[in-house]
Symmetry: D2
Subunit: 344 residues, 4 copies
């Protein structure tokens, strides 16, 4: 057994840097040999140097060709994930890819087949599964202590809307944001989606109509095991990243409340101020990202299956497609209608 995994991070945007920083400072038995970005700039170089990463490059191929590299983190823009997955697979590297894997399921299917053929580990970046609260919730449900699941309610609202330029290429709220909730629904119910009905509207940014996209959305998911899920998302809520989950079961309800920046309550004549949730999802889920990365590194070290599989990456995309179709046609859409590619 190796005693250390050598990793390369490809794509040095916000999420790529977060992974690199966590790998360097919080995860054991891993070193980051490369930080690569095809559009490498001075700021990225400075960041990498401060972090102590020696191999800074604008040519990801260098990472892929280095035999010392065991694993690559694909943190580039969504439409390039499949290409990098394919190249990394062919180079025999273990792969961690950020979500959503790809909005083009046909293209993605080719890439994932390469990864399977290469026999490398493949993990999809759904960090919420590693959140202490959601993993506790899942354990509670699986324990049988709250009976059988009936309904799930998931809520997610960003503090402020992402930049319009980003949203234009994000693939829409179902691919960009609700995809985490679709993942959670599968995770918490241990079942697959059967049918989805979605609704949405533009309330805060009229420009979204031109994309077209919505800033407020809700979806109903009917699972194969009979459970119902109700999801709502909002692009902007001002008071912090608001993400709560609730699982209503036959013998009890499990509620996952928000995490908060602190535990300080201030009581004054003009009101009682309670703690706020953190503003950004990366801050909110920082420890989940740490656990996610440790899990991926350990799956390589101990040759264990990755905790979040390729199928776990594909199904939420199919759900997002079904939701998008439902929104467009205003009718419930069966998952079986999404035929491009399915693993499960």
């Amino acid at each position: 057994m190796k005693d250390c995994v050598t990793a390369a991070v490809i794509g040095l945007g916000r999420i790529g840097r977060t992974h690199a920083e966590i790998l360097v400072s919080r995860v054991g038995s891993v070193r980051v040999k490369y930080a690569a970005d095809a559009f490498l700039n001075e700021e990225m170089k400075k960041w990498a140097k401060e972090l102590g990463i020696k191999g800074v490059t604008d040519d990801p191929e260098i990472c892929l060709q280095d035999p010392e590299v065991d694993a690559v983190y694909i943190c580039t823009s969504t439409d390039t994930h499949s290409e990098y997955i394919t190249r990394a697979a062919k180079a025999g590297k273990h792969i961690f890819s950020e979500k959503p894997l790809d909005s083009d399921l046909v293209r993605l299917s080719g890439a994932l087949r390469e990864a399977e053929k290469a026999g490398v580990k493949f993990q999809t970046g759904f960090m919420r599964r590693f959140d202490r609260n959601h993993s506790k919730a899942k354990a509670l449900i699986q324990s049988g202590k709250v009976g059988r699941g009936q309904m799930i309610r998931l809520s997610c609202r960003d503090t402020v809307q992402s930049p319009y330029e980003y949203l234009k290429v994000s693939g829409g709220i179902f691919f960009d944001m609700m995809i985490h909730d679709f993942d959670m629904v599968r995770f918490l119910t241990d079942s697959e989606a059967e049918e989805i009905y979605a609704a949405g509207g533009v309330f805060t940014d009229e420009r979204l109509n031109d994309i077209p996209d919505v800033d407020t959305a809700a979806a109903f998911v009917r699972m194969k095991n009979g459970m119902l899920a109700v999801i709502d998302n909002g692009r902007q809520c001002w008071y912090g990243h608001d993400q709560r989950s609730e699982i209503f079961c036959t013998e009890g309800t499990v509620q996952v409340m928000n995490e908060h920046e602190d535990t300080v309550v201030v009581k004054k004549g003009d009101g009682i101020y309670a703690p706020k949730p953190p503003d950004f999802f990366i801050e909110r889920y920082y420890e989940a990202y740490v656990a996610e990365n440790q899990s991926f590194v350990d799956s390589i070290l101990f040759d264990r299956p990755a905790a979040v599989t390729a199928a776990d990456g594909v199904e939420p995309i199919r759900m997002a497609k079904a939701a998008q179709l439902s929104l467009e046609q205003n009718r419930p859409v069966k998952l079986s209608e999404i035929t491009e590619y399915r693993i499960v």
Copy 2:
């Protein structure tokens, strides 16, 4: 102006007695002259005597013919509401009718026309509008302090399921239970429903399949002003009457949390026990019932419009019908499809 309203309560089940007790002990400027029930029994007689109501009768007509009686409370079974509304209107009595007014909209339309013709006050028993929390929430929304409404989430779960015999004649979860949420949606959005999609399932009591009914239901409501509402209901949750509301607006979110039996937290080695919500909705909304009754009495004394109108009683029934149709046909149903009767 009269200085006291004379009332008769018709129908001495749980809710009729609650109204009578509240009128006797908590509402000013009203006296209860009659407590009537067509199926009067010894227990009802005993209860009325203890409460100090002199006129106990199994013939509601006696109340209607007594010129001293100003107002009647119709608390009989749902399928008799229209008949009593008609008879009370013809007798010139002000009318408070429990919800749902009637599941037969054609029959109801005739009754409400009589009430309108008679020029009497008519109030529908949607007490949740008088709850201190929901009325504060509405005031906040109307104040503009949280911006424009985007989405509403309503959750309601009974502690334990009502008796099967009761559910058999209840008209189903949308008429019996979610009708309060349909009312809340209209109340909190100041808009009318455009379209509804509903889903549901049987999780805890297989017998419901024979009615047929469901024990767990969810509904999406698209309002004419563009707002979305997501409602979920459950017949049984064990830990108290769980009713929470949330209104997500462009500049803030208003959350109505549960009321609790007390404020005592017990911390022990085996867990930290937080206060529970009250078990029964009557207990939960007791003060709302008081305010509802005071409002009705005051509307008569001061000749003001009733706070919850006939239209407020009819529209949620139409929404329940749309939800029922949606559940049966698994498609979004427009309110315009419910054509039997509409006021708005």
Copy 3:
């Protein structure tokens, strides 16, 4: 057995009116025949008329001489309580007296002996014992479920300071405010105070130095059963009547949190606003006052001992005297040093 108690309320200030209103509207089997105040004014007359009390008088003796009157509520200023207790006892009336009974223990001892000699019911107005939270806390402790008591923490802060003119004659913070906490300590520990150490200071109103009084005070109480109690009081906290209690026991801790005006949480960019406690103690303890009055009326109807005895009224006064002495001399003071009068 009588089926109704006839009561007279003497002293029509805020607390006297509260009792009268509760007796009229919320308590069963009682009627208020008289509302008396030696300094009767037009406003009082108007108030009594609206409440439907016929016997309005500036001569309390009229109530005491009326053989129909079973019970009197003594809600006059503290320094007249003993006199009215004596007169009521001699007239054979059951007595409910507001707290503190009297700051002059010698005078009080004479009055209470008269009440005892007369064999009438005597109840001291410590309403906090009837609060749903504190009575639940006591039941929990007595149940043994949290083990044996170790320490009690009590906190009480008024929203805004009472008027200076009132404070000048209030007897000081220990007599006027902390007396409720002294009562709670006895109630929750089922033990008597052995020794008290008190501290305090003037932080918000320099004029209090002239009385002299303090606006912020803390006291340590060592109980005969070994338990410790820590009490803090403040005259002004701005954000609502803040009263919390905590009982730390060998197998768990019982916390009594604040009651709140509502359950509405408002989340905005500038903060998350939680519900406030009610501003006034009467609002906070309204239901406790109702229960207290029902208990007193029932003790008469069913000839049961009063729930809060004369001794329960006297001991907190002795504790207040010990605390006052401790503050003046900056030393722990034994209750045995307070020799004027003791019942326990």
Copy 4:
């Protein structure tokens, strides 16, 4: 300026290991060259090896003589702190010493004079100052937004009592446990203690009478700026490390609530289970330890004053001595009576 601090940790008990682990994995610009313990055992060796610390020794002098070592962490038993402070100072090493510095103030005074003479950085290990909640509370108070401080309430209870053998040499509850609260009182009030009155008792472990020590204690502190502080401590509360603080000011109250293990609420028929605080103070304050260590390392790198000074280490010991004396003599004790050594 150096770009990395070389540290040695002396004393490899629970707290020493925690510091070492944090320095290795969470603090930037520092390396741990030595882990030393005069009573080095196999388990410590294994632990150090896994952590990647090369210099494992049973002779602390080796660390002190190595010119590469910039700073030492003194995590040995309390009675040896002064000796190691002296030796480290003479060797010219920067010093981080765990609390309490020493119960023998005369001995400590000599050691601290050496440190001062040597001109090295000296930081006392009061990590609670670096807790996100307490530092926010302090900032709020200093901002003036809540007015002027009146009273502080601090509560601290361990989940389970430390082993008896440990308690026998701990110096008693005031030195071992309440010392953190004494530190907090100074930190939050920006003032010094004038007088202390303390009380306590044995409730859960009779053996403590033989030490003698108490398992439950309370203390009143009167500060030079007039503020009052009320502290309570308990050795055992079962439901997690319960540490709450409250600062009551003239224009508002700041409450520091507990941190919790997660945000999961479970609602069942037998109760509503809220999240628990972590069981151990190290878990509770882990991020505070990280910040404390980063602060110490940065003070060396950037030649800034240490954030928690020698005086900050000495004064709480004097307060503990005053509290101990107060408990023994049952009287308020002035800090001026503790004459062995004072810095402030």
